[in-house]
Amino acid sequence: MSNIGWKDVLADEMPDDLAHEIDIFEGQMELMGQAKLDEKVFAETRLRRGVYGQRYDNGQRHDGFESRELAFDEKDRVKGPDTLWHAPGMQRIKVPGGGLTPDQLDMLAQVADEYSDGILHVTTRQDFQLHFVHIEDTPDMMRRLAAVGITTREACGNSVRNVTCCHLAGVCQTEVFDATPYSEAYAQFLLGHDDVQDFGRKFKPAFSGCEAEACGLVMMHDMGYLAQIKEVDGKPKRGFKVFVGGGLGTVPHQAKVLSEFTPEEEILPQTQAVARVFARLGEKRNRNRARIKFLVAKLGIEEFRRLVDEERKTLPHDDRWTAYLDTLPHYEEKPTRPPTFLNGQVHSFEFNQWLETNVYDQRQEGYSVVTVNLPLGDLTSQQSWELADIARKYVGDNIRTTVEQNIVLRWVSDADLPALYEELRAIGLGDPGAGTIVDITACPGTDTCKLGIASSRGLAGELRTQLTAKSASLPDAIKDLKIKISGCFNSCGQHHVSDIGFFGNSRRSGNFKMPHFQVILGGKWRDNAGSYGLAVGAVPSKTVPEVVDTITSRYVEERTKGETFQEWIGRIGKKEARSIIQPFMNLPAFEQQPEFFSDWGDPRVFSLGDIGIGECAGEVVSLFSMEISPAESEAFEAQIALDEDDPARAESLAYSSMLKAARALVRTQFLDVGDSPDRIVEEFKSRFFDTELFFDQYAKGKFGQYLLDRHSNPNPDPDNDSARRLIEEALLFIEATHACESKVGGNVLVEI
């Protein structure tokens, strides 16, 4: 009950690779604590484990009157540039395709109440986020998640982020085929892949099954895959239309078609080729232009395509490209209950309202998808395990998160819908209105994000309350409009692709700043985020509910029969659209309307003083720096193993640390070295040892010889002395690796 930790308790339940990665991260935390790791390297390291910064983590907070220092202990101790060690942060948890089991939901609930504030937040990329997490708690949190098959690896940082997939895939009425198993294979293949470790920025992929629906929103992704079937030699052949270079952010780009049809066996190697081109040619210094969309725009899609095709030819074969295809015929989801039908019984008004908005008829007769409408994407720990039990009862493992910050239960047998509704209602999750105007998407904004300018969640909560109160009287024409809100121009709330979007900014009135929202009208959610809206002007935050009323009223009055909101905005044009909001654009003086100078849900006088440096972009550090760091961590672990009187483990870790360091060095010249120890040593020897590049001015080849000796003469039964010696050699070898990389210049891709 005292010295046993989660690491020991869960040793047999965690997959070895995940357990080892977490140990390495914990080792890196130790090294950081001892100031033995560069703060930028550690920042990127933790970001790649999903351990993110949060507002005020620079130790400053504006209290409405002035910016004040938050008196954290050990203010010299940091976990990244301007990020204090003890300041709480956010943990992002990747959920590929949003797919969850009840056991996983249980565990998420448990870690939320032990390590955060008891709230699980679903993001616009089907992830979960926990807030106010202390970094010391993160390794154990990761272990507990790993024990149920969840990894946080590459949830942030300059990496491949969560692979999203339509939450209806597999049960959709209009899809070409189920994209789920492809997205799963894709996520698994790219997780930790060597070719995705050297990006200048993040990389977001998505999978869709339908062209005309919103589905996976492929047009706004770095890389998007749209299911297609093509006839080849008289037989139907599965593949994907592949898009590249889309993205929202400050400068939204619609994705370009990389390939009209990529056969299923080619999607992984083609992606690998794209990753290599992006890693090699993408911007690394200017983070504002480092997403792949800028590279595609700069090169032009034809040249980009040519480079990818050339790159594809050089890739060494990998069995994993096609191995998963053999399992596809057996891929299926298993419903918990047999198909049934809602008979003609009379149900309550509330049930019928919920049925209309929150229930989708599956392609499979007798089954439905139920959307659990989460207010602002939040649910409590208690609601989570209660929801897990409901899922166990009605749908088993068929749970998914959605990019609209909800959760869906798939494969609900139709006759169960009334009972399911009552059970959801009993836990506070029976709200109707999923996917309608009241189901507003919002990023964290100023609540927790370092970049937030205005309170996106505060505004979303207010609009939700006001619109829900009058939902019964809302005209049909506006009931299904989408409202999406971002706290700044970075578009995490996906405001560009909503009918009515907002992003936070500010304006000055006299000596005071006033929270504002830029109004974006006419974006398209359907057609995979088919077009982006028009920015028509900024209005004070406190006027937004009235602005929404005014715009929607005008639309209802002026629309022609069947005219969509996008069509109406397109018809009236930007000038007229701006004139609608013009009356709200006047700025009162502070003395006239002081309430305009604070934000929704936050009574402090508005200030921009809390905006920090965002970590969305990650830290630009070299591939070598990232890859040498685990080597150092393993050498550190080796010392701990020796202290624990385990020389065999210590010796093995010391050797492994040398291999990792050698591999990091080799990969500055030769990316495809792979993981085989023989190959790593062979390449190290031919490239750095035989050429004497690794040689020290005085010690000559001594340090490199340590690795060559250990590799060719393993010690089958190391004792404490021999283990200690190897650890010392490993430390010297790692130091020599650093010296060599500095001397040679690193990151020079001389051979592919």
């Binding site: 009950m1 005292s2 005020y56 709230i119 506070g428 609540d447």
Partner: protein
């Protein structure tokens, strides 16, 4: 017994004649005026949109103060997250005295005074530590830690809350943290409790 990873104490409102969102400006002021001794207060989190959960949080470095509506029992919950003490007894003492300080601050706050009252004759105590205090089923041998914690908590609280104090374990779902209910029909007022805990300010 080892100090739990986190420990919370929730006192219930006897009266509450304001909306939960009225706590938001109060908590912001508490941060600005640094009203809680020995604790660093950081931010206010607004979760009033969630049904039956934590509505408004005053988030701190060592502890959170939560206007909590869970189970339709509104109350002020104090969640001690770190530096509570070296063992369960010390952690309980720290948590309880700071929770009672929170009650006192709330009841006497210039904007809240007269609009709410918290009871001291009942509370919920939660050990948020499934590693050391698993919420295993009663009587199956796996709940040794839970039984020992119950005994420890009872022993510690009776002298403070009165001889008729009872602490009972809540038979909740094993996935939930280990939870106890305190009943103390003759509990004294907050100042007396703080005085008996030796932490009156």
């Amino acid at each position: 017994m080892i100090a739990p990873h986190r420990l919370s104490v929730k006192f219930f409102f006897e009266e509450l004649s304001i909306d939960v969102e009225d706590f938001i400006p109060v908590f912001h002021r508490w941060i600005r005026e640094n009203v809680v001794p020995n604790e660093l207060l950081l931010d206010v989190a607004d979760y009033k949109h969630i049904v039956d959960g934590p509505a408004i949080l005053l988030v701190g470095h060592e502890a959170d103060y939560v206007v909590d509506l869970t189970d339709a029992k509104p109350g002020l919950m104090y969640v001690r997250k770190r530096d509570a003490g070296s063992d369960l007894s010390e952690a309980l003492g720290t948590t309880l005295s700071q929770a009672l300080n929170g009650v006192k601050l709330t009841e006497s706050d210039v904007e809240l005074k007269g609009k709410l009252k918290l009871r001291t004759d009942a509370a919920t105590i939660v050990l948020l530590d499934r590693l050391n205090y698993a919420n295993a089923a009663n009587g199956d041998g796996a709940d040794t830690a839970a039984a020992a914690a119950l005994s420890q908590i009872s022993d510690n609280l009776a002298p403070i809350f009165g001889d008729d104090t009872t602490v009972t374990r809540v038979a909740n779902d094993p996935r939930e943290p280990l939870t106890f209910e305190l009943s103390a029909p003759s509990a004294p007022d907050v100042d007396t409790l703080l005085s008996q805990l030796g932490s009156a300010d």
